[in-house]
């Protein structure tokens, strides 16, 4: 049995990585906590390390800030809608594409193409799609409801504007779910499916009782990853609605951006970010526990 290296050697060998991690992650995080606890903005004319101590004042302010609470709730609602939607569509597409057919590779590469686009490009395209004379009204809806379709102003109504953001996000991120579901379903051992078929199980039963349980860990990972990403939604909101009308579609990321960049309210932005981080951490912890840990 090889001898264990002495402790100083172990410490020394991991020192570069530790320094890097501390430098890249921990120090900025500590600065962020510090900023949240002081009252500082670049506009107050003092350096950030000389800012007056504010204690929990920024956190208290956040709890009574209706715009923050609304943005947080709206973002949570957004995640609650887009993630299941993308999962269902992705799973459906992945299931359909399990069957062999001519041009399957081409269809798959076409399906994952939206993932390669920058979100800001997707947002701009969908912004144009939903204009009153854009293709959504002019081509699709006109067939369904007639010329009235041209009078639908998607970005004037808070609910409709929110829907446009959901549509854009779903279009871009469904392929992510599809890709994971497709690889999961493809990895299900054929012998299990054949055995179920021999036993007379229907297509639905095979899917429900064989395929789905086997890819459940993958679904959990996909849902967690996608939820974390969707919670940070920014580009679609910024480009398509600017958070409007009023602040009715403002997401938490857009609100933090405005606090930090537009209003130079750095300390408050840091406090709000920490609250959001804490919420995401708690939710993710329980989600992982429920979705993965139960296995």
């Amino acid at each position: 049995m090889p001898e264990k290296p002495p402790r100083p050697i172990k410490i020394l060998s991991s020192l570069p990585l530790n320094l890097l991690l501390n430098g890249v992650l921990i120090i900025p995080f500590i600065i962020m906590i510090y900023l949240a606890l002081v009252k500082w903005s670049p506009l107050v004319g003092v350096n950030w390390w000389n800012a007056p101590f504010g204690g929990v004042v920024n956190f208290q302010r956040a709890l009574s800030d209706s715009r923050f609470i609304e943005a947080l709730g709206r973002t949570a609602l957004f995640v609650a809608i887009v993630v299941p939607l993308e999962l269902l569509i992705g799973l459906l597409l992945a299931y359909i594409l399990q069957k062999p057919f001519r041009g399957k590779r081409f269809v798959i590469s076409l399906l994952i193409y939206p993932l390669m686009l920058p979100p800001v490009v997707v947002a701009t395209v969908f912004y144009l799609f939903f204009q009153p004379y854009g293709p959504v009204n002019n081509i699709f809806l006109q067939y369904v409801i007639g010329p009235r379709a041209l009078n639908i102003y998607w970005f004037l109504d808070p609910t409709l504007a929110f829907i446009t953001i959901i549509v854009a996000d779903t279009w871009q991120w469904t392929p992510f779910m599809f890709l994971i579901m497709y690889s999961g379903l493809s990895a299900v051992p054929k012998r299990l499916i054949e055995a179920a078929e021999v036993l007379g199980a229907s297509e639905w039963t095979i899917f429900w009782k064989v395929r789905l349980p086997l890819i459940k860990p993958l679904i959990s990972v996909a849902v967690i990853l996608r939820s974390l990403e969707a919670f940070k939604v920014f580009d679609y909101v910024y480009v398509m609605t600017g958070g409007g009308p009023g602040t009715s579609t403002e997401s938490i990321s857009l609100y933090i951006y405005r606090l930090a960049i537009l209003y130079s309210d750095i300390s408050y932005a840091a406090a709000v970010s920490l609250i959001v981080l804490a919420i995401i951490f708690i939710v993710s912890y329980f989600a992982v526990k429920i979705l993965v840990g139960r296995r």
């Binding site: 506009l43 107050v44 004319g45 009153p132 102003y153 409007g244 009308p245």
Partner: protein, 564 residues
């Protein structure tokens, strides 16, 4: 690399004996005598260098009638083709190089937005013709918020990465308080960019875009004053004139008040006209969009109605007032006659609709007129008219008076960074690029920066060039508009105050908030911004700014008792 900052060597203690004292005083007297004699001998040359263009007629008359020709050799005027302002800048920077304050080959770096690249490149091209020893480099940012972010980062990190930053005047308060903008009063006095006299920037714009709390921190590069832009063909059509008079009881004409704007907008919207590209023609299009511009329309009506943004004694917000409700009342009455996209589209949509003939009355920056008369897509090239912004009728001193004022949202100005290695040379570049002759060339080479010096509108040397770029009719209306223009929120937190107002105005127009709630919300939010930066400091800045508002607005404030 020599900086301009003086070295911080500790001075030696001076402790003379009697002999040393006599020698020192004697030397000082002799030096003073020599200095005075040299100064006397060189004085005429100095005077000619700086004032030759103004005094030449008088000098010739005196020479012929009263005295024989002076034996003094005729001095050679350097760079005679340049205006005095540009020449002083060039000579100033040459002297800095000669004195070793700025080394040959030094580079000045300008942080600016992409839209102004063509105009800044023109300025650099002209600069390098006269000052090839000092290079100027552009650091281009994609959008305006990027410039603000970079400037604010520089204020925090103090790297000296930029010598000059071109900013919205709205940000001036923020960047002064953050320590980035340098007080340029000394350079301003030393090199005289002519902010007084026939070449001066038009007042009050020249003052409110460059002063903060009474000190000079910027040189103006631009004017962004709004004018009323309208369809001449429709307003002058005899058939419409007749119909309009029959309906409203007065002549169809360029509107003087917002009440008239509502009538005209209603009249043309109800006509259900169609533009050449098939879109509907709307009676009006004024900014109420969510991203940043909605505050402009509301503030314009509010101020014309005699409203004041903050109390001049307490800094309490005064938006939740009868004037605030009146401004919403006007905008909500106009809403049915504006394209619905006005509430959701980006600011450029107004330009698109107007040049395609889809709005009759609108208001925007000077670039709208430039675009309307020169864009290949424009269908309103020959029929675009420009006038003063509509006003609000008030009783002042027992007499009905129409108060008119023009917004000047954003307005690019140039600041010198406090962390620049070469602040004086940087200032001189700004003076050069905004000089009467160079500045006009720079402005006519692009679309972002617009006319601001009075001579460009009046002096026969410059006016034809300016008229070729903007149209003569526009120039006359624009000059008058600048004279009644008012500043953006040029106090600390300016962008934040404006943004909160924009959000509320947009929400009211979209129907997601009622005016009463919007006004009380804005008042509360503004008050918390004021508290954040300190009421006294904000009050000092607001009081200084309020003095720079145009006379019609101050007259209304005085009539309402808001200003003493």
């Amino acid at each position: 690399m020599g900086g301009e900052k003086a070295s911080s060597e500790k001075p030696k203690k001076f402790d003379p004996d009697r002999r040393q004292f006599v020698i020192t005083i004697g030397s000082a007297i002799v030096a003073l005598g020599i200095g005075y004699a040299l100064g006397y001998l060189t004085k005429p040359v100095e005077r000619i260098t700086t004032t030759v263009t103004k005094t030449v007629t008088q000098t010739v008359t005196q020479t012929v009638t009263a005295a024989p020709p002076s034996p003094t050799p005729t001095p050679v005027l350097e760079y005679p083709e340049l205006s005095d302002v540009a020449r002083r800048a060039v000579l100033g920077v040459k002297k800095l190089i000669a004195d070793g304050v700025v080394p040959k080959g030094a580079t000045l770096r300008i942080l600016h937005v992409a839209g102004s690249k063509a105009q800044l490149e023109k300025a650099i091209e002209l600069w390098s013709k006269y000052v090839p020893e000092i290079k100027v480099e552009l650091i281009t940012m994609g959008t305006e918020p990027d410039v603000y972010t970079k400037a604010m980062s520089e204020a925090v990190t103090k790297t000296g990465a930029y010598d000059i930053v071109t900013i919205f005047s709205t940000w001036l308060g923020d960047l002064v308080e953050a320590g980035l903008a340098k007080d340029i009063t000394v350079y301003f006095s030393k090199y005289d960019p002519e902010y007084v006299g026939p070449n001066a920037p038009i007042e009050p714009l020249g003052s409110y875009t460059t002063l903060y709390k009474g000190k000079r921190y910027a040189l103006t590069l631009d004017s962004d004053v709004f004018t009323l832009t309208y369809r001449k063909d429709l307003l002058n059509d005899p058939k419409y004139k007749e119909e309009f008079k029959a309906t409203y009881g007065y002549d169809l004409k360029v509107p003087d008040t917002w009440e008239e704007v509502i009538n005209i907008a209603e009249f043309f919207t109800n006509k259900k006209l169609t533009s050449p590209r098939g879109g509907r023609v709307w009676g009006a299009y004024f900014y109420v969009e969510p991203a940043f511009a909605a505050y402009i329309s509301w503030t314009n009506i509010f101020l014309e109605a005699g409203g004041i943004l903050f109390d001049l004694e307490t800094m309490d917000p005064k938006v939740d007032s009868p004037e605030g409700r009146y401004a919403f009342d006007i905008l909500l009455k106009l809403k049915p006659f504006m394209p619905p996209e006005a509430i959701s589209a980006a600011w450029a949509d107004l330009y698109d609709k107007y040049i395609h003939g889809e709005s009759v009355l609108t208001a925007a920056w000077p670039s709208l007129t430039k675009m309307a008369i020169s864009s290949p897509d424009s269908v309103v090239k020959e029929v675009t008219g420009t006038a003063l912004m509509p006003g609000v009728k008030l009783e002042i001193g027992g007499k009905p008076t129409i108060i008119r004022a023009s917004p000047n949202p954003v307005n690019w100005v140039g600041i010198v960074s406090n962390y620049s290695k070469y602040p004086e040379a940087s200032y001189l570049f700004l003076q050069f690029m905004t000089a009467p002759d160079i500045g006009l060339e720079v402005i006519l080479s692009g679309v972002i920066l617009d006319l601001f010096r009075e001579s460009w509108f009046k002096d026969p040397k410059y006016r034809p060039k300016a008229a070729a770029g903007y149209g003569a009719e526009f120039l006359d209306a624009y000059l008058e508009s600048i004279k009644i223009s008012y500043p953006d929120f040029i106090i600390r937190g300016g962008p934040e105050y404006a943004s909160k107002l924009t959000t509320a105005v947009n929400a009211v127009m979209a129907g997601t908030m009622d005016p009463k709630t919007a006004l009380s919300t804005v008042a509360a939010e503004w008050d918390s911004i004021t508290k954040k930066y300190g009421r006294d400091a904000q009050l000092e800045a607001w009081r200084a700014l309020a003095q720079l508002f145009p006379e019609p607005i101050k007259m209304a404030w005085k009539a309402k008792g808001y200003m003493k």
